[in-house]
Symmetry: C2
Subunit: 438 residues, 2 copies
């Protein structure tokens, strides 16, 4: 284990050169900020986030600088001046959107975010999530001292296994959550050793230094800066489970592998051989951010699944690149055209009469009337297409609109015609037929 | 209605010629019996059954004569002498089997049964069902006077609709049950008018002249000769339901049709068009009587159905002529090779470890481990064949033995290769695709 950790550290701790570059960029950025803020004496700036706390992952340098506005600044002014300053201090700027828009760009080739926020006295008055960031930094900055590399180990452990990041596409662990866990438990290895006992209703009460269970609750990591807030709110149950199992596996057989991203691909031979009952819906991607797109894709999948129950949906998945892909696997390849429709017991004369009028192919079984009826669809792809045509309105605003405009359906081996790598990886994941990619 | 009944009577009341022939046969039979019994002074004979009570159906004349033995006669002797006398008094004799063997044959061309039984003082000492017959006759013979033709109407009404006869193949109404019902309610039409309100738990208490319901019980017609005995014991729930519905239909739209057997056939065009998911098992008929064969066929079907649940069995049926036929209709034409096998919740470390060792293609869903597994059979005919190969021992002694020796499976359109009329009628019934036969 010691050896594994030692070698993992080499992966995650930034090189001297990277630190050198960062320092220079930081100094240059400060100069530019001082210049830019000369006209705004009521504003100040702060370096926050993983760069400021020295917890960024080797090769993933990004400097976050926050422009703090007085509490009484109107929101529009904050946004306007915030963007203005951002544009002034970075090269190759682009606008990005979180709670409100901010500027992303580069300084001496280093990635930089310039985020405007309010300067508040207490975190219970925050107007948007970014206003909390200065408080997070204040809480962490001394407590994390000496544990920076443990944070880096945890981040890389998560990243290599696809569960680092709180964005909806990932639904994993945020950087802030990693830092809190290392502070709370003391080290990377202590986080791992404790996580193996986590349950879905575990509460990690950071401000009070306690761990307990809340029956019927969700996994909850209390934000020391705002105790009502769950820092793990975006962590999905399944990613929590995945992490817990990874921790068990790692403790049983420590290996550097746990820190290395495993590139994989669809095993086409297995796919052809197994002849899975797969239906894929492909359509044009709406022009919206991922954190908006992915929930809509999931919603669309759930609507399809809930309306194709008679084909025994087994699993679903979704992803997007230029197009969007919804993936469904079913347990039934083909139903009979006929099914049994239940009628009244024979004693119920009134309903028997009505049933006989409304149905053909009637028979009696176990003292009850039944009728054979014909279903619309005998194959799952027919049902999927029909559900989308009838229910696109319940599939998210933007995704629904695109589905209304049109979609393609792929079945069985035909899905291999889709070349998208994103799609193939997701398909491999859904069907459990991955192949290490060369 | 009156007119319908009038015309129905023409169908059911024996012609003068038939009565004439019957009388002559009866006289001849009596002569032969007197001769044959000369050597057995302790024996006597009695004419019982529908001929004796003048309730036989036109064209269905059969004379039942019972040889009454003293109570202390050993069973073997009763059987031996009974058969000897039977053989002596009829032409073209053959042995038939009910509770014990008896002789069937002809006298002046009329069908005759010669049945040995014990002469008892009370029906609660009976050794086998036939010993009850003299008591039934004694109870009925005066009560049925003047209502003979109502009995005939009821019998024909049942016969035309396939529910006359208590034998296992039919599971309908026995002749004795018809007579009791007519005595109890007063006439054919009174039976029909009352039957529309029968329920599955109705008790018709003939000796006490009452009708009531016994919650959780079965349809029960109390034998006035033996109040513990249910005269309708062999009437199936579904044939009870069928009769009740026929009575409702008849009262709503009286028609001679209800008294005319409707010959029907399989509608081959509909069969091809509907493409039903049908599996038929055909095999050699074991050499046993129908009342023994049919329960075994039903049992075999139930074992198949109970072991092919994943293909959603819809209906089954069975019949036999030279061969036996088991018919199954399924709701699923083809399953995927893969299904989801449930594992433990992620918190259950011990069972998770075991599950991971035992399974490949493992994934996490809703906080629980699952695995994709492969099933043996993806089509219902494969499953049916496999169930029979593995479970023939639970399919009745004789039927199971024949199935062990071998069987053929027919699927879809191939079942039309089976030419048996019995089979085709049963198939038409099971699938509800009858065609009036020309």
């Amino acid at each position: 284990m010691e050896d594994v950790i030692k070698r993992a550290l080499e992966l995650v701790v930034p090189s001297k050169e990277e630190i050198e570059i960062a320092k220079k960029a930081e100094e240059e950025l400060k100069r530019r900020l001082d210049d830019a803020l000369e006209d705004y004496p009521m504003l100040e700036y702060r370096f926050l986030g993983s760069y400021a706390r020295n917890t960024w992952l080797r090769g993933n340098l990004e400097i976050d600088v926050f422009i703090l506005f007085p509490e009484d600044t109107p929101m529009e002014e904050l946004e306007k001046i915030g963007l203005e300053i951002g544009k002034a201090v970075v090269d190759e700027y682009e606008l990005r959107y979180a709670a409100h828009p901010y500027v992303h760009g580069k300084v001496l080739g280093v990635e930089v975010d310039v985020v405007p926020c309010y300067k508040l006295k207490s975190p219970d008055k925050i107007k948007s999530a970014v206003d909390r960031t200065p408080f997070h930094h204040d809480w962490l900055k001394d407590r994390i001292k000496g544990k920076e590399n443990d944070v880096r180990l945890l981040k890389q452990f998560l990243k290599a296994n696809g569960i680092y990041g709180a964005e909806y596409k990932v639904r994993g662990f945020s950087g802030y959550l990693c830092e809190l866990l290392v502070v709370f438990y003391g080290s990377f290895l202590d986080v791992v050793k404790n996580a193996v006992k986590w349950r879905r209703d575990t509460v990690i009460d950071v401000p009070n230094g306690k761990v307990y269970r809340k029956k019927g609750g969700s996994f909850f990591v209390v934000d020391p800066v705002d105790p009502k807030r769950n820092v793990a709110a975006n962590l999905s149950l399944d990613n929590l489970a995945k992490f817990v199992q990874l921790c068990r596996d790692f403790l049983k057989r420590p290996s550097l592998d746990f820190f290395l991203s495993k590139e994989f691909d669809l095993d086409e031979d297995a796919f052809r051989r197994e002849n899975r009952v797969v239906v894929v819906v492909a359509f044009e991607k709406p022009n919206i951010v991922e954190d908006n797109l992915y929930p809509q894709l999931e919603k669309a999948c759930r609507v399809v699944v809930n309306n194709t129950r008679e084909f025994q949906p087994l699993r679903f998945g979704f992803t997007a690149d230029d197009r969007c892909y919804l993936i469904f696997e079913f347990g039934i390849r083909e139903l009979s055209r006929f099914y049994k429709h239940m009628g009244p017991i024979f004693e119920d004369e009134e309903n028997v009469e009505r049933f006989l009028k409304r149905n053909e192919k009637v028979f009696i079984e176990n003292g009850r009337f039944w009728a054979f009826k014909e279903r619309m669809h005998v194959k799952p792809n027919e049902a999927v297409a029909d559900v989308i045509k009838k229910n696109w309105q319940g599939m998210g605003k933007d995704v629904g609109e695109k589905l209304r405009e049109g979609f393609e359906i792929y079945v069985g081996e035909d899905v291999l015609k889709i070349e998208s790598k994103e799609f193939r990886k997701k398909l491999a994941e859904v069907l459990c037929i991955k192949r290490p990619s060369s």
